[in-house]
């Protein structure tokens, strides 16, 4: 017994190492949050309590999406995904409405006046890198806005925090300009590369700005997809 004891810490640490792309879900935290949902089945709960692989996780989430009517885009699956949003429950109805960040940001008139608040709230979470619970005035304003539009007793709760290790996918952008040796800035950062080159960047939406002294900046936003190349042609104008 004694000689095998050293295997115990080894096992514990290897359980925690996530260097192989293993999905790790904050099971307990998620489970607590999930309990707030009335429509999540016992089956879902049993899945959430265990560590999941990406496929199981995505399938589960897709199932929730179907039940709840919001969606994930295929691109979302490839990012570290922190699902943040608000669960808005209409207490006088049997059904409940909830929306995630993507659904809320893409729906223009779900609840008038609340989208902007939610957008600001989510922006705040993204910029701070952590979830701030809705308290006091914030929550009050949300409830007021929703009540005034729907006219029911409602409960508003920030909901679950799920994340998994992202797939590290890249695509490329060919940045051309009619003026030689212009600097390339990507997402506000100097790439230290010059134009008429192909650069490798992470997938997703990227803002490229081509700059040169004496010329006006040339900004472009492109959607970079895995192993695909998009081209930008900048015509530089003198100041």
């Amino acid at each position: 017994m004694r000689k095998n004891n050293f295997l115990i810490p080894l096992f514990l640490v290897f359980l925690k190492i996530n260097a192989f792309g293993q999905v790790f879900i904050e099971s307990e935290m998620l489970y607590e949050e999930i309990n707030k949902f009335s429509t999540v089945t016992e089956f879902d709960k049993s899945i959430i309590q265990n560590e999941l692989n990406i496929e199981t996780y995505i399938n589960t989430v897709e199932k929730w999406q179907k039940e709840r009517g919001y969606y994930f885009t295929p691109e979302t699956k490839n990012e570290i995904y922190t699902e943040i949003g608000l669960s808005i429950i209409l207490l006088n109805k049997l059904s409940d409405y909830s929306f995630s960040d993507s659904a809320a940001l893409s729906s223009d008139s779900f609840i008038d006046g609340t989208n902007q608040l939610l957008e600001n709230y989510l922006d705040n979470i993204i910029s701070n890198g952590k979830i701030t619970p809705l308290v006091g005035e914030w929550l009050g304003t949300f409830q007021f806005n929703i009540k005034s539009n729907i006219g029911n007793d409602i409960a508003v709760e920030p909901f679950k925090n799920v994340y998994y290790k992202k797939k590290n996918e890249r695509g490329s952008i060919t940045v051309n300009s009619d003026v030689k040796q212009c600097s390339i800035f990507i997402d506000g950062k100097d790439s230290e590369l010059t134009t008429n080159k192909t650069v490798s960047v992470k997938t997703g939406s990227r803002t490229v700005v081509v700059k040169k002294d004496g010329y006006q900046d040339c900004p472009e936003t492109v959607e970079v997809k895995k192993r695909k190349t998009v081209s930008i042609n900048c015509k530089m104008k003198k100041k």
């Binding site: 810490p9 992202k166 997402d187 790439s191 650069v199």
Partner: protein, 164 residues
């Protein structure tokens, strides 16, 4: 039932936690937001640099395997001498084994990073992730060797004492 936990088990736990933090702190190439220039082909010198790195990696992995074999053999044989205080020697062998295994893991990660780099047409062998992995692999291997030397010194001292 009482479970006795040897002191070195606690040390192993601490070491493994440190190693975990170390592994976690090395940034993956794919995690970085850095923008890389995409190349169509490597020039001769770049290809040579990658070759050297791969060869060194192979050599270190082979030597680490050798160390694992030797240490494992010693640990199983239990040196056929009845030491009065052999726990230190056992611990040295176990730490040496762990160090070698971790070195191999870093070697594997280095391969993975190089493959990632090549698959996306990037050449950046000076990147933090690659340099850190390369250094970690060597330092872990060196650690195993140092522990092995320390084992040999203690072993020979004990053998001398036994003879006396």
């Amino acid at each position: 039932m009482k479970i006795k936990i040897a002191a070195y088990n606690i040390v192993i736990l601490v070491i493994l936690l440190v190693v975990y933090l170390l592994i976690d702190s090395i940034p993956l190439l794919g995690d970085q937001d850095e923008v890389f220039e995409e190349i169509t082909a490597m020039n001769n010198l770049q290809a040579k640099a990658v070759d050297i790195m791969v060869e060194t990696n192979k050599l270190l992995i082979s030597l680490s395997l050798l160390v694992i074999g030797v240490f494992g053999g010693l640990l199983i044989r239990k040196y056929e001498i009845n030491y009065t205080n052999s726990q230190l020697l056992q611990a040295l062998l176990i730490f040496g084994l762990m160090s070698s295994c971790i070195s191999i893991y870093f070697g594997y990660r280095l391969y993975a990073e190089l493959t990632y780099m090549m698959s996306y047409c990037i050449y950046d062998v000076d990147n933090d992730s690659i340099v850190d992995l390369r250094n970690s692999q060597f330092i872990c291997f060196l650690g195993a060797i140092v522990l092995g030397v320390y084992f040999l010194i203690n072993h020979s001292l004990l053998v001398q004492n036994e003879k006396k």
